[in-house]
């Protein structure tokens, strides 16, 4: 315990010295996020210096081993770092699907060589990754995917199409599910890694209802992928994918706290007061009912993380967290839109920073679709937790 207190005070001192004032404010828009990668540009000196200080310290990926670019922090230390960063509102130095998605998969399934190579690149923000899972005909039924890699001895030739590849148009590399055996649905998929600059890869952004285009359609036309570029065994990529899906669901659920688990009633009252108004009594009642659910879910998130740490959580529990967390977040934004009234309807006004409330509200509608729909989550809970008979 004494060690942890020392760690806390050292961390506080380090943050004080290394996190510029400008980096101690909530992220306001996409511009404020640093994604890294070959073509990355820093938005400001402060962003750059904060990023570089973190890379040097291993704090872009604090819990990863030092050998792979991390700081090798124990869970308790990592928690303290999170708390101390939250205390001063420090922005994440680096956002990356490499950190959130590929990293955990490599840590579990990668070879030592892969870990040193790819994890290091990720930790240093050198390569920006995207994820190739869904296909137009394979949404909830992911395993029905068709993108095919033909075996050519020392390489595959990949043909097919992916959809919902986040920022594929800005990514350097992709981790991608490719069918390598048409005869076996589950054990015929390989988890491949390849460069988006490989000839035959093309992307097309998808315009969303929010007016943004964070996702792409990604096309593979005779793309050559060297045989060594896969994670886990050949034809056993579904195991990696399933593991990552669980991880993704946990992430989307917002179980880690933050916005998605917090009450909003008081903030809505303040906002109404700023416009010179008050809360409708009926809206106030809805906000209270929401806050109850949000605070209870916050407790569940804490409990879930505590249980995961000691292996007490049911392996299918991330599905429950994802289901509830995303439904809750949609409801949160519905209520925020109601509380915001006609002002929140504005699509590109300066007062709304370019329609932040309405675009944010629309964005949340994807929460219960991406990473497994709410319906799929409920199916999984029914079967794997409640052990209800197969339909």
């Amino acid at each position: 315990m004494a060690d942890l207190e020392t760690f806390r005070s050292e961390t506080r001192t380090w943050l004080e010295a290394n996190c510029p004032e400008e980096m101690r404010q909530p992220v306001r828009d996409e511009e404020d996020v640093y994604w890294g990668g070959r073509n990355a540009k820093f938005k400001s000196e402060a962003q750059k210096s904060w990023f570089e200080a973190c890379v040097a310290k291993g704090y872009t990926v604090p819990a990863w081993p030092k050998a792979y670019g991390g700081a090798g922090l124990e869970p308790a230390e990592a928690k303290i770092l999170r708390e101390e960063m939250a205390r001063i509102n420090a922005r994440p130095p680096l956002s990356s699907f490499g950190i959130w998605m590929l990293g955990p998969a490599l840590l579990k399934f990668g070879t030592e060589e892969q870990k040193v190579h790819y994890l290091g690149e990720i930790a240093r923000g050198e390569i920006r990754w995207c994820q190739g899972y869904s296909e137009p005909g394979s949404g909830s039924d992911l395993v029905s995917m068709q993108t095919f890699g033909e075996d050519k001895g020392d390489h595959w030739v990949v043909n097919g199409q992916k959809i919902w590849t986040s920022y594929a148009d800005e990514a350097d590399w992709i981790f991608c599910l490719v069918r390598t055996d048409k005869a076996d649905k589950y054990q015929g998929i390989t988890f491949m890694l390849f460069d988006m600059a490989t000839p035959g890869v093309s992307t097309k952004p998808i315009l969303l209802i929010s007016g943004n285009s964070p996702f792409c359609e990604t096309f593979f036309d005779d793309v050559k992928v060297p045989k060594e570029q896969h994670v886990g065994e050949i034809n056993r990529g579904w195991d990696v994918a399933k593991y990552l899906l669980g991880h993704e669901r946990e992430m989307i659920s917002g179980a880690g706290g933050g916005d998605r688990t917090s009450a909003i009633g008081v903030a809505m009252l303040r906002q109404a007061a700023k416009e010179g108004g008050d809360l409708d009594p009926m809206l106030r009642a809805e906000l209270a009912m929401f806050d109850i659910d949000a605070l209870a879910y916050g407790a569940m998130g804490e409990k879930f993380l505590d249980e995961i740490k000691v292996g007490k959580a049911h392996p299918a529990q991330p599905n429950m967290m994802k289901y509830v967390g995303t439904e809750l977040n949609k409801r949160r934004h519905e209520l925020m839109m109601s509380a915001g009234g006609s002002r929140s309807l504005e699509w590109d006004s300066e007062e709304t920073s370019g329609g932040k409330p309405s675009r944010g509200w629309l964005r949340t509608k994807a929460n219960s679709i991406e990473g497994g729909t709410s319906e799929v989550m409920l199916n999984v809970i029914a079967k794997r937790i409640l052990d209800l008979p197969g339909a």
């Binding site: 039924d141 209802i209 007016g211 416009e275 949609k330 504005e346 699509w347 629309l362 509608k365 339909a391």
Partner: protein
């Protein structure tokens, strides 16, 4: 009066349905004006066609050259507008403004109604002051000035304000902000000196304005009804607009539901049509029930308004709130059941979600009308 359409109403519904599907379709109207960045957010040609069809004058008396019909008939047109997301100034001009103008002087009626009937004119109403609908509180002041008035204040959420030839403004001629009495309605020409508007595009691609009245001078002839006696006309106008918005909301809900049910019959996952999954079937069936009930509530309220029944105000709020919940459910279920593609701009279901949101807010949302239901009921 039975709660289904009589023969004339059925005919009107058929022609409105056909007209809106052909002329008011999403692709040629909503998407077109949105994607070309139209400053009105709707097409004036289509609006004139509304005039040719006679729709513009549904609530205008026969003496004034209109059809002298009622809210049921206006609702028939609005439901089809909702189904097709047809952008037009019908609700603000032919429902809200027309209701107020029906109580106006010969002079005002003569000045404004002919243009409405032909679809040459567009009208708007300026009620809200702030981000929420609170017509009980009116702070905009109209002070006596010569034989006229000088208006000062701010208005928000003035739909079509920037496109309107005339805007009906609720202002206070006496009393304090929260008084029921002392309100007067004014017909304010778009080019009145001291009137400025700041147009903003809304989530549904309609255009509203924030309006500033900086000593706008009007002569006494601009008063609609009696000075200090505007509350009753305002209530009448608001109720007409609310039930109109509710009728349009029913159309939005039905449009979203129909599109979604169709999709359930086409999309396959896990080797089945997704419409075969019982969980989705039950949700669709529940939604259907809610839509039918909402529609019944709207027609009931329209009939009560047309009969000038004392219970009309209660039922209008019931209908606006009920439709708000149902249309919200319809578009949420719609997007969710469409899955990923429901999030894309390419598919229309998201447009229903956007329109619903703006319509929910207009003239009082679910919470506002729930409060009103409690208050009118006496608790």
């Amino acid at each position: 009066m039975p709660l289904y359409y009589d023969d004339d109403q059925t005919m009107l519904a058929d022609s409105a349905s056909q007209f809106m599907a052909e002329e008011g379709a999403i692709k040629t109207q909503l998407r077109h004006w949105r994607d070309t960045g139209c400053k009105d957010g709707f097409g004036h040609e289509l609006w004139k066609q509304f005039g040719e069809m006679g729709f513009t004058g549904i609530l205008v008396s026969e003496d004034d050259g209109g059809l002298g019909m009622g809210h049921v008939e206006a609702g028939i047109v609005l439901e089809e507008i909702g189904r097709n997301l047809t952008p037009s100034p019908f609700l603000t001009s032919s429902v809200l403004a027309a209701t107020a103008l029906g109580r106006a002087s010969d002079d005002l009626r003569g000045r404004y109604l002919p243009g409405l009937l032909t679809g040459e004119s567009v009208f708007a109403v300026a009620i809200d002051e702030g981000a929420k609908h609170r017509p009980e509180r009116i702070a905009t002041r109209a002070e006596k000035s010569g034989n006229g008035f000088k208006l000062s204040g701010k208005k928000d959420f003035v739909i079509h304000g920037a496109s309107a030839d005339m805007i009906i403004v609720a202002a206070r001629t006496s009393g304090s902000d929260d008084d029921a009495e002392g309100v007067t309605l004014f017909a304010v020409p778009r080019d009145a000196a001291g009137l400025s508007q700041d147009a903003v595009k809304l989530v549904d691609s309609s255009i509203a304005t924030h309006m500033v009245l900086d000593g706008v001078e009007l002569d006494g002839g601009a008063v609609i009804g009696e000075v200090d006696g505007g509350r009753e006309i305002l209530e009448r106008m608001l109720n007409a607009g609310r039930i109109g918005a509710a009728a349009e909301g029913v159309g939005v809900a039905r449009g979203a539901m129909d599109m979604t049910v169709d999709y359930l019959k086409q999309r396959k996952q896990f080797g089945k049509l997704i419409g075969e999954f019982q969980a989705l079937q039950h949700r669709a069936a529940h939604l259907y029930s809610e839509v039918e009930i909402s529609r019944a509530a709207v027609i009931k309220a329209q009939q009560l308004l047309d009969a000038d029944a004392p219970s009309a105000a209660l039922m209008v709020s019931v209908a606006k709130a009920k439709v708000g919940q149902t249309a919200g459910l319809a578009v949420r279920e719609g997007v969710q059941m469409h899955g990923g593609i429901g999030m894309t701009d390419e598919y229309d279901i998201g447009l229903y979600m956007k329109r619903d949101r703006a319509l929910q807010e207009f003239l009082g949302d679910v919470y506002y009308h729930a409060e009103r239901v409690a208050q009118i009921s006496g608790y």
